[in-house]
Amino acid sequence: MMAGKPRVAFYWAASCGGCDIATLEIREKILDLAQAVDIVFWPVAMDIKYKDVEAMEDGSIDVCFFNGAIRNAENEHMARLLRAKSKVLVAYGSCAHEGCIPGLANLSDREGIFEAVYKESPSTENPDGLVPQTRYELPEGEVEIPAFYDTVRTLGQTVEVDYFVPGCPPQADQTWAVFEAFVSGDLPPLGSVIGAGEKTVCDECERVKEEKKVKEFFRIHEIIPDEKKCLLEQGIVCAGPATRSGCGALCPTVNLPCRGCYGPPPGVVDQGAKLLSAIASVVDADTEEEARRIVSQIVDPIGTFYRFGLPASLLRRRKIQ
């Protein structure tokens, strides 16, 4: 296997930090991990700098767990750098896997985002209409910031990825299972999803499922659902039928529907389209008119069906005219 202790790196691109906290949700097992491996790079936790990574030999990192989406030039640079320095690159968490929440920015572009943040924001005083510049000359010298791209990409759309761990964030027991798999060497073929199940969230959900015939859809603030029955059967759009299992179906335990953060089930390429199909199929309508009436109660199809997976979808982004 690996001579000496395995060298492991963690990195975050356009992320919220939740995946790093999720990694630490293995709690006291982190000490077992620290004993079993050498953590050679983890900016959130350690003082190793970018130049130290650049100085490493190619392939000298055994496994790199990379979370976060590719939003800007720095994220892309680090993705390429860590791909070169790592034998195995793992897309950890929904952002790296399929774009996640930052991926919703693909409904807009750089210009649209800058307009909203730096000009249209009601609290922003910006009479000269300034926006961030990649290079700016200050009295003391030049300051650079990474270019902000028009489109969010997944890690797999940027570099070759060896394994994918889904979830926003991945749950602790799954994270530990992944670490154990690497240490033991018991891994599926390259390109596989690991740290998750092989079915859908419905399979793990303990709610009672009878027959799905929906005559009305309700948004979550409009109804207090029964605590035991399937949420979709009560007219609440739930992504369970088209989401990979592995999380333990946690969200329905507090009376809220799944929103799909574990990504598409095995064999499904476009999660949103599959979910749309599943939801529409249970609409209880015998005429087109009635069907239209019922589905129009789903007010934001793209944001609902592609909440976590827009960049990874077939079409990837909205076309801005």
């Binding site: 791209y149 028009d150 389209a273 199909s277 199929s281 309508a285 239209r292 079409l315």
Partner: protein, 149 residues
């Protein structure tokens, strides 16, 4: 933006029992049909997974059609076309949110006895899309994913 020599590429998912038969009959009867429509035969319009529509656009379609048997009674599988009219309105909404002009997605019902209807539909759609211009989804993605400001 219409380009002069632009020939739209239209993908049509047609149900075997109704619209495919209509298209066949239109051809045999030598009704005028544009060459722009490529037909994919499915056994039922209810077989058309929304991802087929998206994939067609991704792979270069400038427009997509989904046609089947008239509800309520004509479906060879009784209620397959019920799935169609439950799904397609949502697909329409989704495509709009993707920024794809609604003219590019057309779905409905054409029976085996309605060959002229089929021919007219294809002529009209081709004309409209010619005017609208190419979609070129992959070209658009390339442009939006290049580095730098």
């Amino acid at each position: 933006m219409a380009e002069k020599d632009f020939e739209p590429r239209i993908i049509a998912f047609l149900c075997n029992w109704c619209t495919y038969a209509a298209a066949d009959a239109a051809g045999i009867s030598r009704m005028e049909q544009p060459l722009n429509v490529d037909i994919i035969r499915v056994m039922c319009s209810g077989r058309v997974d929304p991802s087929f529509v998206l994939k067609a656009f991704l792979e270069g379609a400038d427009a997509v059609m989904v046609y089947g048997c008239h509800p309520p009674g004509d479906c060879h599988y009784s209620e397959g076309n019920y799935k169609t009219f439950r799904r397609m309105p949502l697909v329409e909404q989704l495509l709009e949110q993707y920024g794809i002009e609604k003219e590019r997605f057309q779905w409905g019902w054409i029976s085996a006895a309605e060959a002229p209807e089929w021919a007219a539909t294809t002529r009209e759609l081709t004309r409209k899309i010619k005017e609208l211009g190419p979609l070129d989804w992959k070209g658009y993605l390339d442009g939006m994913e290049s580095e730098g400001v």
